[in-house]
Symmetry: C2
Subunit: 737 residues, 2 copies
């Protein structure tokens, strides 16, 4: 029976990709609009592809070098293999491909959404959401297909053909090799997210500073040389970057659950395979129900709520997945108590496992709700920032920073409760499965997330090609919903990353052969400090990079305004390509340092100070990264919506204030500060913490201190003295059975 499940997983993946192809063809067959629009769209598509090519040119060296090192190191320890390098390369390539699929369809769906918006909101939503679905299905389909097929191969190669033990070192090797896939995916994700994030914000900030503030022309005005770069940025940062990001998260979550699942030994578990297979099957089912859910995202008339339509599709996928998980877990697992080898005292039942799935979904939902509260227009946090804009730039900034810091409280309490209860429900496996449950409907989540930037781009094209006001109004409605879903998506991403990082952390501890990470030890505590510092320097590098690149952009735009005659009266054409090039070069150059920190720190610490200190570093990175991520995402989101609130006018101390007022200018400052927070460093935090954990997992066999790996296969081991550390008790063990 387990064979059916094993082989079903890649089938789910292929099904997802087939539906993706169908939806993709549908989008491409839609009308593209007038030549003016097509030309702008082509500029954007060309710029986006130029960025991807430039990025890949750098990353290919990284993949080759890292692959060679992995292949060599895989031969050094018994529980790994050089094949980890193959797995790594496939992960990297699929991650890049996932980003490509998303960006390709997004740069096609944008102009078609603009065209559709000429007829109705209904049609515009249909096109943009289908574009988003292509990305969602592509990412999830590739992940499920990739993980599923590689697992089949490695399972047969290392376990079945070697006559090995499903719960033994042979399976450990198979999963260790599979970890290479996740490492490849997550490394590319980090570079894509950071590079894309720097690109989009350098262009955005640069375009705003000269265009809006100095030249006094509106956003997305064709006269602004940086406007194409700004629109390209939406695609490379918010679409390609996010696609690679979620591909990496999805894969990492599944992997962590599989590694921990190996430790649940029970012959009734389909010969031990059930706990390893469960995360894969849940992911496959989630993908299927996401496909189903996409058909419910529609409105029948233009006055219907777009948000409700998205929620409907989302909840249908989630509830069906939960229901199916119940029956699946009930079928796959035996009655009675289960436990992990390392923690035999922590027992749980199969209903505990289902409970963990459920807890994961609740945590995800609560995180989205809290994030929305802190960033949505009309709610207290955003209103407080609006009020503080009335006394100037400084108080606006103070207000936003204060809201961002405050917004960490509830998410952390929810997360802490989630960790605690999912552990109660099913031990460490429960923590991992909670993350897997949360991530199950990634395809749908991503469809909802990706439709936002498509709509944003569609609005840009409408503005730049001077379409009638009602077209822009329709795309603005979609864009506004997109902003809310983007904020909620980030809350969700950071929660899933936290749980995944913990599961990876637990998987790492097992592979590294340590049984505790005791921060009461001076070296581990020093590691905790160093780890917690990393999100600060990482954020600093990202933010400073945006600042530098934006200044380059400002100077280039100023130059063009000065040197190219007639830009302002539309007789001269700005050199868009120059601005695209500046953003591209800056982002490629600036993504190296943060990426290197994430990859090298765990390796250096692990080999020099050993696995327990590395554990301290990982805990520090995770805790501080989650906090800095929430802080930066929410502060940025709140500043953005405080600024947007001025479009309709806001009441400050009894006076209505609109765009152009002093208070509005203060709110623009906040929004600009928030840009790199919420679109560059903030969303990179979740990749940072996962990537560092995966690197640790991959090097774990090399730095392992597991004594069982050094035990002889047969014979009796004489233990004379075991020192118990409990204070004031000295116990000498005379005889050991």
């Amino acid at each position: 029976m387990e064979d059916v499940f094993i082989y079903l997983v890649p089938v789910f993946g292929i099904l997802g990709l087939i539906v993706m192809a169908i939806k993709s063809r549908w989008v491409i067959r839609q009308e593209t609009g007038d030549p003016n629009m097509v030309e702008l769209a082509e500029h954007i598509a060309k710029g986006a592809m130029a960025f991807l090519k430039a990025e890949w040119k750098v990353l290919i060296y990284f993949v080759i070098i890292a692959g060679l090192i992995l292949a060599w190191s895989g031969t050094l320890v018994p529980n790994s293999s050089w094949i980890i390098a193959v797995s790594f390369v496939i992960g990297a390539v699929l991650s890049a491909f996932a980003g490509y699929i998303g960006m390709n369809i997004a740069t096609k769906a944008n102009v078609r959404t603009t065209q559709a918006a000429k007829t109705s909101l209904r049609q515009a939503l249909h096109v943009s959401f289908t574009g988003g679905s292509v990305m969602g299905l592509g990412v999830a389909g590739l992940a499920v297909l990739g993980m599923g097929s590689l697992f089949i191969v490695f399972y047969n190669m290392f376990v079945v053909s070697a006559g090995g033990d499903i719960n033994g070192i042979e399976m450990e090797t198979a999963l260790e090799v599979l970890a290479g896939f996740s490492l490849g995916a997550e490394s590319i994700a980090l570079f894509a997210r950071v590079g894309g994030g720097i690109y989009t914000k350098a262009a955005d900030v640069g375009a705003d500073l000269v265009g809006k503030v100095e030249a006094g022309i509106p956003e997305d005005d064709v006269r602004n040389p940086a406007t194409i770069a700004d629109n390209v940025g939406d695609n490379v940062g918010d679409v390609a970057g996010m696609g690679a990001d979620l591909f990496g998260s999805y894969v990492a979550t599944i992997l962590a659950s599989m590694v921990l699942g190996r430790e649940i030994i029970s012959n009734d578990n389909m010969g031990g395979l059930a706990p390893i297979l469960l995360p894969l099957v849940i992911a496959g089912l989630g993908l299927m129900f996401s496909i189903l859910g996409t058909f419910f995202v529609k409105i029948t008339k233009d006055t219907d709520s777009v948000q409700n339509a998205l929620n409907m599709g989302n909840w249908i996928s989630i509830l069906l997945t939960v229901g199916a998980s119940f029956f699946l877990i009930d079928y796959m697992f035996p009655e009675g108590n289960l436990s992990l080898v390392r923690d035999p005292a922590v027992t749980f039942t199969k209903m505990g496992i289902f409970g963990a799935v459920f807890i994961g979904l609740v945590v995800g939902a609560l995180m989205s709700i809290i994030t929305e509260y802190y960033t949505a227009m009309g709610k207290m946090p955003v209103n407080s920032i609006i009020k503080q804009s009335g006394t100037g730039h400084a108080t606006n900034i103070i207000g936003g920073l204060s809201v961002g810091m405050e917004s960490t409280v509830l998410p952390i309490l929810v997360l802490a409760a989630g960790i605690y209860t999912s552990f109660m429900a099913a031990g460490l496996y429960g923590v991992a499965i909670a993350a897997a449950g949360m991530m199950a409907t990634t395809a749908m989540q991503l469809a909802i997330d990706a439709f936002g930037p498509i709509a944003d781009n569609a609005g840009g094209i409408a503005e730049m090609s001077g379409l009638p006001k009602e077209v822009r109004e329709r795309t603005d409605i979609l864009d506004a919903v997109g902003n809310t879903t983007a904020a909620a998506g980030k809350g969700f991403a950071i929660a899933s990353a936290a749980l995944t990082a913990l599961a990876l952390f637990a998987a790492y501890v097992g592979l590294a052969g340590i049984t505790s990470i005791d921060i009461y030890k001076a070296d581990v505590l020093a590691g905790l400090f160093v780890g917690a510092m990393i999100p600060f320097i990482f954020s600093s590098l990202c933010i400073a990079a945006v600042g530098r690149a934006a200044m380059d952009m400002v100077n280039e735009v100023r130059r063009q305004f000065k040197e190219i005659p007639g830009i302002m009266d539309y007789t001269g054409k700005p050199e868009y390509d120059k601005c695209v090039e500046i953003s591209t070069k800056a982002s490629i150059r600036e993504m190296i340092a943060p990426g290197a920190i994430a990859l090298l720190v765990p390796i250096l610490v692990g080999f020099i100070f050993g696995p327990e200190v590395l554990g301290g570093v990982l805990a520090g990175v995770t805790v501080s990264g989650v906090l800095m991520g929430i802080f930066q995402n929410n502060a940025g989101g709140a500043w953005d919506n405080a600024k947007k609130s001025f479009e309709k006018g806001v009441m400050i101390d009894g006076v209505m204030q609109y765009k152009g007022s002093e208070a509005h200018k203060a709110s623009v400052t906040g929004d600009t500060v928030g840009d790199p927070f919420k679109d560059t460093s903030g969303p990179s935090m979740n990749i940072l913490i996962k990537l560092m954990s995966i690197v640790a997992l991959v090097i774990a066999p090399h730095i392992s201190v597991n004594p069982t790996h050094n035990l002889p296969e047969e014979g009796i081991v004489q233990v004379n003295k075991v020192e118990l550390k409990r204070h004031d008790l000295n116990v000498e063990i005379i005889e050991v059975k």
Copy 2:
């Protein structure tokens, strides 16, 4: 021989206080200047006292209630006593008194410094630094006298008269009761620092926003109704707050070393007392050498460097203390290996202990140097912010945030190395003694720190009473040096707090009877998350409080400008008292919530989730608090000096920019944002982390899981099975000797 040392400690304290009284009398005997100046100084002194009175009125309830709870709880466990309440009240009263001494002399020294500045810089430095010394000697003298005398009392009461064991539970009780002193001191410090910080920044930000920005009148202009409140703020925040802060730190550091010292058992250690006495004696010696050092802080002519004079005094105290510590440790401790009871495997020698003192001083010096680099004028970080001011408010803020985050890297690496090496040198006792070494010359450090606000105030009085330009120039020189020493002092404070918190943490672990804090356990990890979140909500509360209070201040100043005729042409008198009242009320109201969090979280977590989870919370608070402290202090300091750089003019992209330029306005925004960072939330971080550790230490006996406390006094304990957690190894212990 140990008796000599025990009784020497309070003598050192009394000597310090005598010198303080002499210096205080000298300051008071200096000339006070013309009636105009005297009137202004009286306004400031009255406002400052009004704040202290209002604060004490609230805190007295807290002290009574907390004291009653402590008295009651002290009777519940064998290793505590109701006397802890007495100890707590004395600590609270002395802490408040330390703040009072400092503020009292500061409000006298300010106007006398102004008067002295009429003659020469030399004389102005002499008066202001002597004022600072009074505070330094007062704080250190009270701490040494208080700790020293109480230790004598409790040692005789609990150990000697009970015929108890110096290293046993009797001494544990004596030190637990002494911990009440530290708890009292640190609680008052938190309220004073937070309350004072909110007061000073509400007044400062409020005065600037209306005065400088709206009305266009200079800083410290008598026409600004908030100007007196602003000058009062310098005294209540930077002087009284800092005095209570350092009093608390000093006491906590000594206490932590004493608690750990109890665990070093060797009869050659003066019958076991040496490790407990050492931190007290070092503190006493440091105080004596600080007195000596103050005589070297002088310049002979007005062109001499003030900074060099301060450095000279500082290094003389430090080097003499180091030298004396060497002989002291060599005399007090025996040859051969020492170790802590809980960690017999970690052995060290007496030279290791001296090594730890030395490491502490190196860490402190490096932290000061790094902080200075990140915040000083003319260095790269401040220059980068200046450059980014050229493109507006937003890039100035991005630049400052990025510098602040980046500035965490080196301090954390230094700190991690310090933890690691001081542990190597002398185990956990080494970490504590490193902190004690760093803090030994607190009297001198504080003298240097406190002279800054005195000079700042002197400048304010000069400006407000319209004295000649050269007077203001002289006070400005002192003020500028004061800004640098303030930044360096904050770096030093956070480093010492981190080491102290670790030592307290270790002391807590011992008292709570746990042997590890394993973040690999789900509940401990959840605790780590919650702990790390606390500095975020704490900062948010402080920053938001400043924002709110500043808005109240702005509205009041606007009202006075509108309703009181003739303010602008000096014919009408502003109602200074109203502004003083707003700041006072706001700061008292807003200090409650952050204080409550710091006090209640450890109690709730400890009793509900047990000591190990509380350990996770403490680690989280410490790590995240240190990072947030460094980030906020340095960002604020860098913004401040970026703004100050415009006074002499700065070159941005080849153009000189001065005060009043757009770039300068952007830099003022950064400075205003930085104000609550560097003077309210940032410097509170170090108190927060220490206070939470002390609360944990005080409740430790109540939540202890120490099995030895449950062992019978006599007889054999049968242990049948000990489960060892090492993965895959199951060991059954048959017989236990």
